[in-house]
Amino acid sequence: MDFTLTSDQEALQEAVRKLCEGRFPMERVRALAEVGGVDRDLWREMADAGVFSLRLSEADGGAALGTAEAALVFEVLGRALVPGPLVWTHLAAGLVPGAAEGDRVVGGLQRQEEPFLVEYPDAIDVLLAVDDDGLWEVDRSRLSARPVSWPLDPLTPAHVAGGLLRGERRGVPGDAARWRLDGAVLTGAYLLGMAAALTEMSVAFAKERQQFDKPIGSFQAIKHILADMFVRTEVARAAVYAAAVNLDEPALGPPARAVAGAKLLAGEAATLNAKAATQVHGGMGFTWEVDVHLYLKRAWVLDTTFGTADDHADVVAGLLG
């Protein structure tokens, strides 16, 4: 039992952090809204860094790493708010040709998520659907879809699709179940990174911003909001890391409860921290120019994918007693 990061894991996070700093500064991220959320060159750079292929065997061009490492990578991506169907493409690596290499962008949705909102419609090459019966590749040419002119999150463009066709089978029910678990944890990891970034930007703002001749972070009301943001993030971190480790290590027992708790707490950490960050930033938090709202909107979006907070609390309850 050593629940700290190995030096390899630290190095992996550091490498992806550097990639994000270099390639995904916030101006660049914002600009991706203009191109449907995905820039093909940047996408391939992420692929080259192993973001999608990480868990594939070395024979398949991967690094044979685990879900724990993938979660650490997605945490860093969430911190930087990198847009695009990252989780789906990562899940599809090894299954959909070109996904691992960044040549094909893979999106997806869960069939119980009515109405069907297809994310990144103009960026994706392949649309997958998951349901209790398996994984399916949807034939988009047969899909009636209308574009959302005004998406909640400018970095999550969407189409509303009419009834979703099943298409070609890509996996059995067991695959679908595993995708749901992996997808929940990786989305949770991304949300965890967002929660941490929100804490840091709010702390920095509160040290800088003066009102009543003092930095606002010296007022207990603000200080305690920030302390709660930090605490929520660290609790979510413990949950997400533990769930990822659990997915890699069958000897730790069935992962369902840990995974549900991880998505639940990471989703809440991100949404609650984003709301708190808005409040701490005061009027600035209500402006488009300050990044907080982009995190808030993404947090709301991601809270609806791979199970909502309510869904996951129900799952944990169902496994109790």
Binding site: P115, F116, L117, V148, W150, Q211, T278, G282, G283, D310
Partner: protein, 392 residues
């Protein structure tokens, strides 16, 4: 304690409703988002219609051209306007609820004669130049400087959060006239004509993507001393007169609308599918909506209490701060419930089904409510110190 409307109230309601029924169809359709000229045109047209019918300035004294309505009639007025889906004050917001009442309370007769009728008739649109980038919660630390030069003040500085500045004729402006004095005592309240040279309006994009608010850049702007309301350096007190209005009835139409929206949300919840059931079949979610409805009911009754006390004593009492703090946090929780009901449909501000986009937009809009006009943190300080008498 009596919650029945009086016969007068009911008669007023009936007349008003009849008038709205025939007036509303004559009003142009709602304007396109971001078309502020059209918005001004529509809102001021409606204001003129209200004026001609004798409903303008519902809360203004009759001596100044207002309706001088009893407080209970004001509640009826807001209820009926909201229920009918008629426009709220819109671009006339600052004129009717801030600048106008300040002018009534503090201005000279010639200033009153110049502006009050024009505001009532929808001929003058006002905006507010109070907040600054570095003066938010700590408004009194404002730095926009006004230097006396002959019969003018020469003004330099920057304002922010000025709503409808693009289509305003005048701005109620707070400036610092004595930088040496303690911060509350060196401020002056001025009437700034928006077409004065040196006034630069730069729209500000909000999280909703709208540009209702602007920044005002003021570069050697000359305003006649005659445009001052109240004494030089007495502007903080003058502005506080305005705030006592802002924190009173200004949330009433907002709350009436929230009650209507909550009923809408229940209808939506009964339609949104969730597995084999609807969102409304989720006992946990439904219970939270029921809880929020009870709170909103209570706040509405709290408004009636506050208004009744004000009618009896002439002062608004403690209710206004309580309502501001509680309502603004409640409406955000209700917005969160709406997102939970909508689930994936919350990804879109276009309607995925009936009105769904409106709930999402509202969730964004109400983010500002716990920040503007005294943040929740400031409200709790005020309640703790002014009402409960706790030490600073």
């Amino acid at each position: 304690m009596d919650l029945l409307w009086t016969e007068e109230d009911e008669r007023f309601r009936a007349e008003l409703r009849a008038w709205i029924d025939q007036a509303l169809p004559k009003l142009p359709a709602a304007t396109k988002r971001e078309d502020w000229d059209a918005r001004r045109e529509r809102d001021t047209t409606w204001q003129r219609m209200l004026y001609d019918a004798g409903y303008a300035g519902i809360n203004w004294p009759a001596d100044f051209g207002g309706r001088g309505a009893a407080l209970s009639e004001q509640l009826v007025f807001y209820e009926e306007i909201t229920t009918a889906g008629a426009p709220d004050v819109g671009v006339n917001f600052v004129g009717l609820l801030h600048a106008g009442p300040t002018i009534i309370a503090e201005a000279a007769d010639d200033q009153r004669a110049r502006h009050l009728p024009a505001i009532l008739k929808g001929e003058e649109v006002w905006c507010q130049g109070f907040s600054e980038p570095s003066a938010g919660s700590d408004l009194a630390s404002l730095r926009t400087r006004a230097v006396r030069d002959g019969d003018d003040y020469v003004i330099n500085g920057q304002k922010i959060w000025t709503s409808f500045a693009q289509v305003s004729d005048y701005c109620e402006l707070l400036v610092r006239t004595d930088p040496e004095a303690p911060k509350h005592t060196g401020i002056t309240w001025l009437i700034l004509p928006m077409d004065t040279p040196g006034v630069d309006v730069r729209p500000l994009r909000t999280v909703i993507g709208s540009s209702e608010f602007s920044e005002l850049y003021l570069d050697d702007v000359r305003v006649p001393v005659a445009n001052r309301v109240g004494a030089e350096n007495d502007g903080w007190r003058v502005a506080m007169v305005t705030f006592s209005f802002e924190r009173g009835t200004s949330l009433v139409s907002e709350m009436a609308e929230a009650r209507r929206q909550l009923d809408e949300l229940v209808k939506v919840a009964k339609v949104v599918t969730r597995g084999s059931a609807t969102a409304w079949d989720d006992v946990g979610l439904r219970r939270e909506i029921g809880h929020a409805a009870a709170e909103l009911d209570a706040l509405w009754n709290m408004v009636k209490r506050t208004v009744s006390e004000a009618a009896r004593t002439g002062v608004p009492g403690v209710g206004a701060s309580v309502v501001k703090l509680y309502y603004t946090e409640l409406i955000q929780r209700i917005g969160d419930l709406a997102l939970r009901v909508l689930d994936r449909a919350s990804l879109s501000l276009d309607d995925v089904f009936d009105h769904s986009g409106h709930f999402v937009e509202e969730r964004l809009r109400v983010l500002a409510l716990t920040i503007a006009a005294g943040s929740s943190q400031i409200q709790r300080n005020i309640i703790g110190e002014r009402i409960l008498g706790l030490p600073r």
